[in-house]
């Protein structure tokens, strides 16, 4: 199977949205869309599934909460209990109110950082990562839709030309 893709460029988000809907209606497969800013409703129009990253954040937060409870229970109650200022730390439940601020902070710390790390890993973002956008203008004012060539190439190109594209390119996708 060939790895040929057609890159259709648009200079307006509304034209792009209509084009995405038309291409999908014509049963062509949209490989990718690159946009300079978040275009609302584009993911739905492309048929992308919703992201589950918020769920991971919740789970990470739970981990942080449990970790902080374990940590403070171990350090303050079990490993080295002390009588600080006449307030002995011999029972977790009695000391618990003083642990609430750090329980909260650790929950937020774990949820935020692990979620962002998950996002960076899943979207392949890290230092020294080479950018893969097909055209430097896609971070400025160009919207690029990549459609896989599957069958008649000329037919696809002429179809895309009618969707309001300003530039069109056929390339090999690696």
């Amino acid at each position: 199977m060939s790895n040929k893709v057609v890159q259709a460029m648009y200079n307006d988000d509304d034209i792009l949205m209509d084009a995405v809907k038309e291409v999908r209606a014509a049963k062509y497969h949209i490989e990718e869309v690159y946009t300079p800013f978040p275009v609302h409703g584009l993911d739905k129009a492309m048929g992308l599934k919703g992201t589950r990253i918020a769920i991971t954040a919740f789970l990470y937060g739970c981990v942080g909460l449990v970790f902080s409870i374990w940590m403070m229970d171990y350090m303050m109650i079990r490993d080295w209990p002390q009588d600080i200022g006449g307030k002995p730390s011999f029972a977790f439940i009695q000391n618990m109110p003083a642990f609430v601020p750090i329980m909260f902070e650790m929950t937020v710390f774990f949820a935020a950082h692990l979620m962002v790390i998950t996002f960076y890993m899943r979207s392949k973002l890290w230092p020294f990562k080479e950018a893969e956008n097909p055209d430097p203008r896609t971070t400025d004012d160009m919207f690029v839709m990549e459609v896989i060539v599957d069958g008649n190439e000329d037919e696809l190109v002429s179809f895309l030309k009618k969707t309001g594209t300003v530039e069109i390119k056929v390339t090999e996708k690696h």
Binding site: P36, T51, E105, V116, T138, T139, D141
Partner: protein, 463 residues
Amino acid sequence: MSSHYEAPIRRPLIVGDKNYHDISVDVAAPVEGKANKLWWIAFSIALLAFLWGIGAITYTIGTGIGVWGLNKTVGWAWDITNFVWWVGIGHAGTLISAVLLLFRQKWRMGINRSAEAMTIFSVIQAGLFPIIHMGRVWNAHFVLPLPNQFGSLWTNFNSPLLWDVFAISTYFSVSLVFWWTGLLPDFAMLRDRAVRPFQKKIYGLLSFGWTGRAKDWQRFEEVSLVLAGLATPLVLSVHTIVSFDFATSIVPGWHTTIFPPYFVAGAVFSGFAMVNTLLIIMRKVSNLEAYITEQHIELMNIVIMITGSIVGCAYITELFIAWYSGVEYEQYAFLNRATGPYWWAYLLMMSCNVFSPQFMWFKKLRTSITFSFIISIVVNIGMWFERFVIIVTSLHRDYLPSSWTMFSPTFVDIGIFIGTIGFFFVLFLLYARTFPVIAQAEVKSILKASGEKYKKLRDGNHE
């Protein structure tokens, strides 16, 4: 165009005849251009102040904190005042980017990047003070619960000072990743525009290879929303915990249940004032008046007015409760605060924080750029004095009249404070020349809804 509808009554957030490319050009201009003379002068002054501060810190560490003006009655003074002041300033960034995101306030987009930068830079300044105040800074890691050679003597999790360590470090690191995640698309824009290979390399490195795929944007928006949801209670918790440093003690004047909300309001108040100070200058110097409009400044002035009034209510409440409590120590602490030897500081605090924001009720004044700038400076001075008043006046006349004394700062106290102001401006000036100072990707996404050109086009059609 229907999907970009915005009520005609809303004023445009992007003025002038801008298209997507114009936004890229305008945001990249300060980065791609050369620094002018004014920038170099400002930078040199800031750098000198910073170096002076480094000298003062070195002297403190080498000799001990005896070189400060502290004495056995007043054990906390400028250091903690400066700490709380800087942390407070650091609150506006997260408030603008997180709380205003949750409330879907589009006007945050012109200012959130710089406000977050200000947050990060000021939290760095804040963090310096508790560390220097430890005296033996080489033992600073003792605040962390690390296994150690004393048979694992752990930190005291009952102490509000330790809560502060966790709160400030969580706040700093979460703000940093929030800021950086938002920066990725904008760094990518600079990378793709860069002509010189060195610039291309640097911005390529900073942008983490951002490409703007539809799936990445979907995740980006979800991550921003969840981070905003996490950062909102976080920002409230941080200053709450800072206020616990005082409120959980049994010192009259500190031991007050009103402290958490009162400190948070004060933090937002001073933070917005600092954002106004910085952005009024930056929009002019970097030609960003189309994105940071008069409307933005007016809205920030309204926030300053409201939070200033909340702070004013808190001052009055404290006085009332001190009298109503019937506790004579409490009553004396507040009487002494207002009429004692530090009456001038109290008066300065009251006039800067309670009186001066009331001018913002007048539309003419809150839309005046010069006046807004002056008030923003006044508020920052007032908020510094608020912390000074709370800390020093509560301590200097304690339970034992024989140990009553006064506090006066030494040149080292002053040097460190000036040094942190210098450090802050060194960071901010570098930021203003190398970072995309406006969240251009987000601004582009509201251009059709809130851009002046598009609004005119659309509203014209309806009539």
